[in-house]
Symmetry: C2
Subunit: 318 residues, 2 copies
């Protein structure tokens, strides 16, 4: 069994790769435009540092032994909004090309595509359901919605065996802030725990839909393992998430790490970011994903503790 992960040098790609190395994987190819900062050293791992959208790259990393493709690579929301052409090139064109290479190989590999709740927008019900219409208000959301349509049709035609996961915002991501508009959802926990102030660009009443690194990694593997028959004709799944306000996130941080740490969260509203994040759904109906036995987080305090435990070797200034 040979597994390909695009975006494999990123945080989630690395976590997913670690999960696969703990299983019976024959070979693991991690392709990413960036070189890995701390490469995995397992002999089953091959890194390919290249632009997915460049000629020949995808053709070189997929063959008929590639039984599973995890397509995580994407230009994130803030960057796709700032550079329309780049977002289309990576989020739409490279996704299509990846599907085309799989189709050309002719063996319909499992194809796990990470979409986002950013496909939703506009006038939303209190709880977003599986049958709520998509009205993305960002180019990133539009590009993910197009990717979903493509993976669905390639699956219907038998070119790939697709599983489309709409990921909640992942919190707490390790590392540094990125260009995702949701970057604050990790920053307001991670930076205070590192003894740094964190700017929150959205109001404390803003409701977000979150998942933890452990849960989303397990969800990606679970999506791969599900038999196609469990999905039927509908390949899109809203992954389980937690619905919390930003104020509640700060309160969790105070409970887990103390008021001094939580006081490092500073609210400086950026009206553009605040508006876009408010347009994303804050609560989704989980029932299909739970029925398919996807893992779920219990509460946000546990997510903060998960981050603390994983980073215990670092000095927290609490």
């Amino acid at each position: 069994m040979h597994v390909l992960i695009t975006g494999g040098a990123g945080f989630l790609g690395r976590r997913l790769a670690e999960a696969w190395l703990a299983r019976d994987v024959g070979a693991l190819t991690l392709v990413d435009v960036n070189a890995p900062s701390q490469p995995l050293t397992d002999r089953r791992v091959r890194y390919v540092t290249a632009d997915l959208a460049a000629d020949g790259v995808l053709e070189s990393v997929i063959d008929r032994d590639t039984t599973a493709v995890f397509h995580l690579a994407a230009v994130v929301s803030g960057q796709a909004e700032a550079d329309f052409d780049l977002g289309m090139r990576v989020n739409v064109d490279a996704t299509r090309r990846l599907l085309e290479v799989c189709r050309a190989r002719g063996h319909a590999p499992r194809f796990v595509f990470t979409s986002s709740v950013a496909v939703y927008g506009g006038a939303l019900p209190e709880v977003v359901r599986d049958d709520t219409a998509l009205a993305p208000q960002t180019s990133y959301g539009v590009e993910k919605a197009i990717g979903e349509m493509l993976v669905s049709d390639y699956s219907r035609r038998g070119f790939v065996d697709g599983r489309i996961l709409r990921l909640p915002t992942v919190s707490v991501r390790p590392g540094r802030p990125n260009a995702a508009l949701s970057s604050f959802a990790s920053g307001i926990i991670r930076e205070p725990l590192n003894g740094e102030d964190a700017i929150c660009p959205v109001g404390p009443d803003v409701r977000v839909w979150l998942t933890s690194p452990d849960t989303v990694t397990a969800g990606l593997v679970h999506a791969h393992d599900l038999p196609a028959a469990a999905l039927g004709d509908e390949r899109r799944i809203n992954l389980p998430g937690l619905s919390v306000t930003v104020g509640e996130m700060a309160a969790s941080l105070a409970r887990v790490a103390g008021d001094d740490v939580a006081s490092r969260v500073q609210f400086q509203i950026d009206p553009r970011v605040d508006r876009i994040v408010r347009a994303w759904p804050g609560r989704l109906d989980n029932s299909r994903a739970l029925g398919l036995r996807f893992p779920a987080d219990s509460d946000f305090d546990a997510i903060v503790r998960q981050h603390v435990d994983r980073n215990r070797s670092k000095a927290f200034t609490t």
Copy 2:
């Protein structure tokens, strides 16, 4: 004012061109892969017979005087299902290229895009609403849904001033059957009125969502004329339609043209076509379109009479 119509040599393109010639249009460019069978002879009309998706074609027909683009050209449902690559090339790639040329000109022309109720599918409510999720079950529906996403985002960014119309099935189209899976919805009226038998590949209980040539042509012009502010952030509009069963269509034909004519409709169910057409919505909530003052048909008897009146010069064998 300079108007461009893609698919301009088709039935709907010609009807729309006639409507524009009755208005104060300076120039009308009709681009189509097929040459027109009976070209309009008005000196304001220019025909361009070329493949939209070929290099340079769209660049040559749009300039800064192009104030309105009607994008009607498409590979129809049956053909897009039979030839995946052709459908993607025309329905997705040429649409994107057309949007890109408009964007490059920099003047945000009005852009009327004809989508279809084929974007719907899967488990549908009795009455499809504007906020019902899209789950197309054909490549044609997927390609139209992608086109909708693109026109929405290009409009949000101010590259074009888009108006996206989900057309009901147009009945009664003149001429001959085409490769659309909905072709029967015209054929079972048109052919009997011409003294020919018509095969209906779907059951008489199948409910379809119809509009007449007159109404849809007026709707295309109305969509162009609406101020952008009337649409707000939502550029997609389900055009008004009539919800009738195929059996009711045959009954209308009998009332307007007699039982002998209606007896020329023969039901020979094609399970593949029957299944796909049943997956399309048979009834949609019209309220937004009616609130925007789009024209609507009154009943299907009137649609049959509209066809008879327009074709009065031909000999009906009733």
